[in-house]
C-alpha cells in the first residue's frame, strides 16, 4: 500500500467508530440539508438548471484554449498582469517573486482551495512573509495549524469550546464561547491586518472568458476587503474555472450557493477585471492573475473523465457522501476530499498512490445526484479503479480470480461451493468476529448478510 493509503485506512478506522465525530458532522450538516432543499425548491426547474449548467461547462471546457486566451486578453486590456504556471512550484515562485519585488512583509489571504493545493502558505512563510487567512473558518484552522476539514466549511469539525481555547492560547482574547463574541474577536484582529497588509491574495470561483474577469464568492466580506485595501492584489485560479459569458454567472452564482451552503445566493459575489482604473476612488495599483495547470491538462486529456473539470467546488457531493460523513475530511489526506477528491486526486497526484480514494465509495451514486453540474462521479470512481487495476494488477486479486473463474464456469463446482456456503454459514457463529474468521475484516464491525436459503434455480424448479 502507498503511504497515503496506509494513513487513510488508519484514520478511517479510528474515525468511523468515533461517535462524537459522527454526531458533530451530523449536526453541522442537518441544518444545511434543510436550507439546501428549501432553496432548491425555489428554482422553477432545478433539474433544468443542472442540465443548463452542465451544458455551459461542457462548452467552456471543450474550447478551453480559446477561452483562456480570451480571458487573458480581456484582463490584460485593463492592465492586469496574467501569469501562467504549469505546476504548483512555478505558481508559488511567481507569487513569491511578486511579493518580494514590492518589498512587502504582510500578506492577507481569502479562502482559496487552489492555494491549499499548491501549499502556498508554506512557500510564503518559508520566504519570510507573514500570511494571515481572513475567512473565519480558515483563520481558525490556521491558528490551530490544521488543514481545512471541508472545502466550503473549513472548521466544521470544531465546537465553540475548542475555538475559544484556540483563541485564548493564540490571541489571548477569548471573552466566552459565544459564536458571536468569538467572531467579533476575529473581526477586530483581522481589521488591523487588512489596513496594514501590502498584498492581498484571493482565489476565484469562476473566470469569465468573454469579459476578462474573475469572480469571487464569499459571505463574510473578507475577500472584498482583501481586494480593496492592499496595494497589490493577486488572484490564483485553476484553468478550469472558465465560464464563457458574463450572463452565465446568473445561473452559476445561485446554484453554487444553493447546494454549497443552503443559501439562494452568497453574501458577496464580486467580479474583478483589473487594478484600480482611472477615475476610481481606490483599489490595488497592481492586479496579478495566476493561471494554474498543475495536472489539470492531464485530466483534460482523459476524454472519458474530462467532465470532472466542470466541478465548481460546491462541496455538495461531500455533504451527501456516506463515506465522507463517517471518515471526515482530514482522513483523505489531500486538498479535495469526498467523491470529487476520489475522482480527481489520482489524476492530480498520481494514480497508484491515490487510487485508494477511488475505492472509498459505496458507489451509491448520491454524489452524482447531488452534483449541480451533473458530473457522473461514481462512474468516474469506477473508471479510476479499472485504470489502476489495468496498469498495476494486484497479485491477490489475480490469485482470487484464478480460483474464482474456473468455479464460476463449471456448474457442478459452483453448486458445490454455494451449498458449502450455506453449510459454512451455519458453523460460522463459532468463529464469527474472531481472528480465525476468514471474513474478519467485515465481521469485526458488521453482520454478514445471510446466504440465500435456495438458489434461484432451485426456487424456479419448485415454482413449476
Amino acid at each position: 500500500m502507498s503511504a497515503p493509503a496506509v494513513q487513510f485506512h488508519h484514520d478511517a478506522d479510528r474515525l468511523a467508530t468515533d461517535l462524537r465525530h459522527r454526531e458533530l458532522v451530523h449536526t453541522a450538516l442537518s441544518k444545511y440539508e434543510v436550507k439546501r432543499d428549501e432553496m432548491k425548491a425555489r428554482f422553477q426547474d432545478w433539474q433544468g438548471a443542472r442540465a443548463l449548467a452542465a451544458a455551459t461547462k461542457r462548452k467552456a471546457i471543450s474550447q478551453l484554449d480559446r477561452h483562456l486566451e480570451q480571458l487573458a486578453r480581456g484582463l490584460e486590456a485593463r492592465g492586469t498582469k496574467v501569469h501562467w504556471a504549469s505546476n504548483g512550484r512555478q505558481a508559488c515562485a511567481i507569487i513569491v517573486g511578486i511579493i518580494k519585488a514590492r518589498n512587502a512583509r504582510l500578506v492577507v489571504k481569502s479562502k482559496a482551495m487552489t492555494a491549499e493545493e499548491i501549499h502556498l502558505n508554506e512557500a510564503l512563510e518559508h520566504a519570510g512573509f507573514e500570511v494571515v487567512e481572513t475567512d473565519l473558518g480558515e483563520f481558525i484552522v490556521q491558528l490551530r495549524g490544521e488543514a481545512p476539514y471541508h472545502i466550503v466549511f473549513p472548521a466544521m469539525h470544531l465546537v465553540r469550546g475548542e475555538i475559544r481555547d484556540t483563541f485564548a492560547t493564540k490571541l489571548h482574547d477569548a471573552p466566552s464561547d459565544n459564536p458571536e463574541e468569538l467572531t467579533m474577536v476575529a473581526r477586530r484582529v483581522l481589521r488591523q491586518k487588512y489596513v496594514e497588509a501590502d498584498v492581498g491574495i484571493t482565489g476565484a470561483n469562476f473566470a469569465v472568458a468573454e469579459t476578462g474577469m474573475v469572480s469571487v464568492t464569499e459571505n463574510e466580506g473578507n475577500a472584498r476587503l482583501t481586494a480593496a485595501l492592499p496595494k497589490t492584489m493577486i488572484t490564483l485560479l485553476g484553468i478550469e474555472k472558465i465560464v464563457p459569458r458574463l450572463e452565465d454567472l446568473a445561473l452559476f452564482l445561485p446554484m453554487l450557493a444553493t447546494v454549497g451552503a443552503g443559501q439562494l445566493i452568497s453574501g458577496y459575489n464580486t467580479m474583478y477585471g483589473g487594478p484600480r482604473q482611472p477615475g476610481e476612488a481606490d483599489g490595488p495599483e497592481e492586479f496579478h492573475v495566476v493561471l494554474l495547470d498543475n495536472n489539470r491538462t492531464a485530466l483534460l486529456a482523459d476524454a472519458e473523465q474530462r467532465e470532472a473539470l466542470h466541478c465548481i467546488r460546491c462541496g455538495a457531493c461531500l455533504n451527501v457522501c456516506p463515506i465522507f460523513r463517517n471518515v471526515g475530511g482530514h482522513t483523505y489526506g489531500t486538498t479535495y476530499p469526498g467523491p470529487i477528491g476520489g475522482v480527481i486526486t489520482p489524476h492530480l497526484r498520481g494514480l497508484q498512490d491515490w487510487k485508494h480514494l477511488s475505492y472509498a465509495s459505496s458507489l451509491c451514486g448520491a454524489c452524482t445526484e447531488a452534483c449541480p453540474v451533473k458530473i457522473d462521479l461514481h462512474h468516474h470512481l469506477l473508471q479510476n479503479r479499472r485504470n489502476s487495476a489495468a496498469a498495476k494488477p494486484s497479485w491477490w486479486q489475480k490469485t482470487a480470480f484464478k480460483f474464482f473463474v474456473p468455479v464460476a464456469n463449471r456448474r457442478g463446482l459452483w453448486k458445490l461451493v454455494t451449498r458449502g456456503g450455506r453449510l459454512g454459514q451455519r458453523l460460522h457463529p463459532l468463529i464469527k468476529g474472531s481472528r480465525l474468521d476468514p471474513a474478519y475484516c467485515w465481521t469485526k464491525t458488521r453482520e454478514l448478510p445471510p446466504v440465500a436459503k435456495q438458489t434461484f434455480k432451485e426456487w424456479w424448479r419448485q415454482r413449476k
Partner: protein, 245 residues
C-alpha cells in the same frame, strides 16, 4: 510560428528571463490544452438538447414593479437587511436623519453622485468623500458608508455596486453600516436582468470591480450558527426612491 508571434504580443517583456519563462509557460499550457482537446469527449447526457434558458429555471419573479418590491422586501427580511421605499428626496433625507439619530452616527462616508450629492449634505455630519488618495484608516472610523447602486435584484435581494458607481471598492464594505440609495429604475426582476443592465451600461469599458451584495456580512463558520458582521457591514439598509429626484 503563429504561436511565437502570439506569445510576443501578449508579453511585452519577453526579453527578460522571467518574461521569457512566462511566455513559454503560456505556450506550454495552451499546447497541452490543444493536444488534450484533440480527442473529443464522449457525448453528453443529453443536456445540450434539454437545456432551456436561464430565466426559465431560476426562482420565479413577478411581472410588475409592485411584485418586485414585495419580493425584494421578502428577501431582505430573510437576509436581515433593512429595506424601505421612500417617496421623494425629502423623505430620503428624513429617513437618513432618522437612521443617523437612532444609531448615533458621528461621521459618515460617501462618494460624489447625483443622489448622494442631493441628500448627504443635509445630514449635517462630518463626511469623508471616497476619492483617490482618501485615507483608508479614516474611512474605517466612519459609522456608515452611504452609496448609490446600479441595480437591486428582486429575485435574490441583492444590491449591485461597482467601483465606478459606488465610490470605489472599500466604501461599501469597510464601514459597519452600509446604506444604499437606489432609484426606481434600479429595481430589476432577476439576476439575468441585472447582468443585462450591466452589459448595456458598461460593455465598452467595465469597471474594475462589480459586486453583488446580498444582506449584511455573515458567517456560519462556528458550529454553522449565523453571525452578522463577520468582516464587512453588520447592517445593510436599502432605500428605494419611488419617484425620480
Amino acid at each position: 510560428m503563429v504561436e511565437a508571434t502570439e506569445m510576443k504580443a501578449a508579453n511585452h517583456d519577453t526579453n527578460s528571463p522571467a518574461g521569457e519563462q512566462r511566455a513559454s509557460e503560456r505556450a506550454n499550457i495552451l499546447a497541452r490544452v490543444r493536444e488534450a482537446l484533440s480527442v473529443a469527449a464522449p457525448a453528453d447526457h443529453g443536456e445540450a438538447a434539454a437545456a432551456s434558458s436561464i430565466p426559465a429555471v431560476l426562482p420565479a419573479v413577478g411581472a410588475t414593479f409592485e411584485d418586485h418590491v414585495a419580493l425584494f422586501q421578502k428577501n431582505a427580511v430573510e437576509l436581515r437587511a433593512e429595506f424601505k421605499v421612500v417617496n421623494d428626496a425629502s423623505d430620503l433625507v428624513a429617513e437618513l436623519k432618522r437612521l443617523a439619530a437612532e444609531a448615533g452616527w458621528r461621521q459618515v462616508a460617501t462618494h460624489r453622485g447625483e443622489l448622494t450629492d442631493a441628500v448627504c449634505p443635509a445630514l449635517g455630519l462630518p463626511t469623508v468623500t471616497a476619492k483617490s488618495g482618501a485615507d483608508k484608516r479614516e474611512l474605517e472610523r466612519c459609522d456608515a458608508g452611504i452609496t448609490e447602486c446600479d441595480a437591486l435584484v428582486a429575485q435574490t435581494g441583492s444590491v449591485v455596486v461597482t467601483s465606478r458607481s459606488a465610490g470605489g471598492r472599500a466604501l461599501s464594505v469597510l464601514p459597519p453600516h452600509h446604506v444604499v440609495l437606489a432609484r426606481r429604475e434600479a429595481l430589476v426582476a432577476g439576476l439575468p436582468d441585472a447582468f443585462a443592465l450591466l452589459r448595456v451600461r458598461y460593455a465598452a469599458n467595465y469597471p474594475s470591480m462589480i459586486s453583488f451584495i446580498t444582506g449584511p456580512s455573515r458567517t456560519g463558520d462556528i458550529e454553522r450558527i449565523l453571525v452578522l458582521g463577520a468582516h464587512g457591514p453588520k447592517r445593510l439598509t436599502v432605500l428605494l426612491l419611488a419617484t425620480p429626484p
